[in-house]
C-alpha cells in the first residue's frame, strides 16, 4: 500500500501495551480477575472468549474508560494505570470502540479531524495523517463530505479505525470490528490491520467473536474465560486445542 516504511518513526518507546495482573469491573462487580496481556510493536494479539469473558472490559481498562481496581497498565513503557481516557489517548493509545461509535451528523472528514484532537495544533501533521489514513481506507476518500451516520457498516468501521489512527497512536485496540459485517468486508479490514502492523509498527490488540478471521491475521492469541487468561499462544496451536475447537469452532457453529 504505502511505499514508505514508518515503523522506524513510530513515536513512543516502542514497547507497546502491557497489562499486568489487571483487576477491573463495574461498581462492585469484578469482571477481570488478575489478567495479564501484552502486545509488542509490530504485533497483532487476538483476544477471544465467550460473551462475558471480559474482552470489552479489558479494552475499557486499557484505554482508561474504567479505572482498574488492581494491577498496572503500561503504555510505551510508561505507567498509565488509573489515568483517564483523554490522557491515555494523548499518550498514544487509540481505542476503536464496539459498534464503531462514529459521530453520526459530522462528516467523514470532521470525524477524522476530531480523531486528531490530541494533536490538533499540528495542522501540517493533520493533513499528512489524513492522506495516510485515506491510503489505508481508500473508500473513505470518496465519502469525505458525507455525514458519517449515512455510511454503510463496513465504511463506519473503517472510519472508526481511521479516526483512531489520526492521533498517530503507537497502540491500537479494537473491540469486535467484524461485528455485523459481511465476510468480504471483514477480510478487507483485517488485511488493512495486517498492513498497519507491518508498515506502521503498531501494537494491535484485536478483540473478536469471529475467531477464525482474527486468528488468520493475529501473531499471537489469548483466550479469556470469566475474566482470566485460559490459554495463550500462536493461533495455529490454539486452533488445534480441543477446548478452543469445542468452545468456538465446533458443533457446526458458524464463525465465518
Amino acid at each position: 500500500m504505502s511505499a514508505e516504511k514508518t515503523g522506524a518513526e513510530n513515536p513512543g518507546s516502542g514497547q507497546g501495551i502491557e497489562a499486568v495482573d489487571l483487576e477491573a469491573g463495574y461498581g462492585r462487580i469484578e469482571v477481570l480477575h488478575g489478567l495479564s496481556l501484552a502486545a509488542e510493536p509490530g504485533e497483532i494479539v487476538a483476544v477471544v472468549g465467550a460473551n462475558g469473558a471480559g474482552k470489552s472490559t479489558l479494552l475499557r481498562a486499557l484505554s482508561g474508560l474504567i479505572a482498574p481496581t488492581a494491577g498496572r497498565v503500561r503504555l510505551g513503557g510508561a505507567d498509565v494505570t488509573g489515568r483517564g481516557p483523554e490522557a491515555i489517548a494523548a499518550a498514544g493509545l487509540a481505542h476503536v470502540p464496539e459498534n464503531r461509535l462514529v459521530f453520526p451528523t459530522l462528516t467523514v472528514d470532521d470525524n477524522l479531524t476530531l480523531g486528531a484532537w490530541t494533536r490538533r495544533r499540528d495542522k501540517a501533521g493533520l493533513r499528512q495523517r489524513r492522506e495516510r489514513v485515506l491510503e489505508y481506507f481508500p473508500r473513505l476518500a470518496d465519502r469525505l463530505g458525507q455525514a458519517a451516520g449515512t455510511l454503510s457498516g463496513g465504511e463506519q468501521q473503517m472510519l472508526s479505525i481511521g479516526r483512531g489512527l489520526m492521533a498517530r497512536p503507537s497502540v491500537l485496540v479494537l473491540d469486535e470490528p467484524s461485528l455485523g459485517l459481511a465476510p468480504r468486508v471483514v477480510r478487507e479490514i483485517f488485511a488493512t490491520l495486517g498492513r498497519l502492523r507491518s508498515a506502521e509498527g503498531l501494537a494491535i490488540v484485536l478483540v473478536e467473536q469471529n475467531v477464525r478471521a482474527a486468528f488468520k491475521v493475529a501473531d499471537r492469541a489469548t483466550v479469556l474465560d470469566r475474566g482470566r487468561v485460559l490459554l495463550e499462544g500462536v493461533p495455529s496451536d490454539l486452533l488445534a486445542d480441543d477446548r478452543v475447537q469445542q468452545a468456538y469452532l465446533g458443533g457446526g457453529y458458524a464463525v465465518d
Partner: protein, 289 residues
C-alpha cells in the same frame, strides 16, 4: 390586518429573547444532559450588572459587553463549583441542583440590588412606523442582534473544530473521550456559551421588560419551553421555538386577553410533551445541536 402585523412584530421581538435563552438551554443540555434552570438568572444578572456599569458612568455598549463577560464567568463558575463535582449526573439531579443554584442566585440578586425593577437605556435609533405598524428601535436591535448571534452560534457548531468537538461530545460521549475530548472541558465551554446567550437576552430585553432580581424566573421558563418545542438538542429548533412562542403569546394577549399571555407557554409545554416529546420542529433523527 395592521393589528395582526403589529402583534406579530411585537411577538417576534419578545420571541427573539426567548430564542436566545432557549439556545442557552440547548448548548448545555446537548453536551452534558444538564437542564440548567439557572439559565434565566444569567439574563437577570446581565441586565442588573449592566445597570451597575452604566450607573458607574460607563457608556452603554461597554456596560453591555462587560455584563456579558460577568455572566460568562458566573456560568463557568457555576459549572465548576456546582455541576462538575457531581459524580453521577442525571437530568433529574441536574434539575434539582440547578433549581437550587437559581434560587440562591435570585436571593443574592435581591440582597445586592433590592426588589425594584429598572430598565437599561435603549440602544440608539428612531422608532419606525411602517404601514401602520410601529416598531421600536430597541425591537429592531433585538431582532438584528438575535439574528447575528443565532448565525454565529450555528457557524460555531457547524464550522469550527471546537464546535464540532462539542457536537461529538453530544452525539457519542464515549467516542469523544476516546479521541481525547474531555467532557468536563466541553461542559465548561457549553456553560460559557449558555452564559453569553442568556446575557445577550438579558441586556437586550432590559429596556423593554425591565430587569429585577426575579425576572430570570419567567424568562428562563419560557426559554425552556421554546427549547423543548425544538426538541432541546437543536439550535435551529430553539430559535424557531422562541419565535413561535413569542408570536403566539402576542396574539393571545392581543386577541383574547393579555392576562393569558404567560399561560400560553405552559399550555404549549403540556401539549408538546404529551403529543410530541421529541419536539415539534425536530425531525426524527434530528442532529443534536
Amino acid at each position: 390586518m395592521s393589528d395582526l402585523l403589529q402583534f406579530v412584530v411585537a411577538g417576534l421581538s419578545s420571541g427573539a429573547i426567548y430564542a436566545l435563552v432557549a439556545m442557552g438551554f440547548v448548548a448545555v443540555f446537548s453536551v452534558s444532559g444538564v437542564i440548567n434552570l439557572a439559565q434565566g438568572e444569567f439574563a437577570a444578572i446581565a441586565g442588573l450588572s449592566a445597570l451597575s456599569f452604566t450607573d458607574a458612568g460607563l457608556p452603554l455598549p461597554v456596560a453591555m459587553l462587560l455584563a456579558l463577560l460577568v455572566v460568562a464567568v458566573v456560568a463557568v463558575l457555576m459549572q465548576r463549583l456546582a455541576i462538575a463535582p457531581v459524580r453521577r449526573m442525571t437530568t433529574l439531579v441536574s434539575i434539582i441542583l440547578t433549581l437550587g443554584v437559581s434560587t440562591a442566585l435570585k436571593a443574592l440578586l435581591l440582597l445586592i440590588y433590592g426588589p425594584q425593577g429598572r430598565g437599561l437605556a435603549p440602544l440608539p435609533g428612531a422608532d419606525l412606523v411602517i404601514g401602520g405598524v410601529s416598531v421600536r428601535a430597541q425591537e429592531l436591535w433585538i431582532l438584528g442582534i438575535t439574528a447575528v448571534v443565532a448565525v454565529a452560534v450555528a457557524v460555531f457548531y457547524d464550522r469550527t473544530v471546537l464546535g464540532k468537538a462539542l457536537r461529538a461530545c453530544a452525539e457519542q460521549p464515549i467516542a469523544a473521550r476516546l479521541v481525547g475530548i474531555s467532557p468536563k472541558a466541553a461542559a465548561t465551554v457549553a456553560f460559557a456559551v449558555a452564559g453569553l446567550l442568556g446575557a445577550v437576552a438579558g441586556v437586550l430585553a432590559s429596556p423593554i421588560q425591565l430587569t429585577q432580581w426575579d425576572s430570570g424566573l419567567l424568562l428562563g421558563l419560557k426559554g425552556f419551553v421554546a427549547a423543548t418545542l425544538g426538541g432541546l438538542v437543536s439550535i435551529r429548533g430553539a430559535v424557531l421555538g422562541g419565535l413561535v412562542l413569542g408570536v403566539l403569546e402576542s396574539l393571545t394577549a392581543g386577541y383574547i386577553d393579555s392576562g393569558y399571555r404567560d399561560a400560553v407557554a405552559f399550555v404549549l409545554l403540556i401539549v408538546v410533551l404529551v403529543a410530541r416529546p421529541g419536539g415539534v420542529f425536530g425531525r426524527h433523527a434530528e442532529a443534536r445541536v
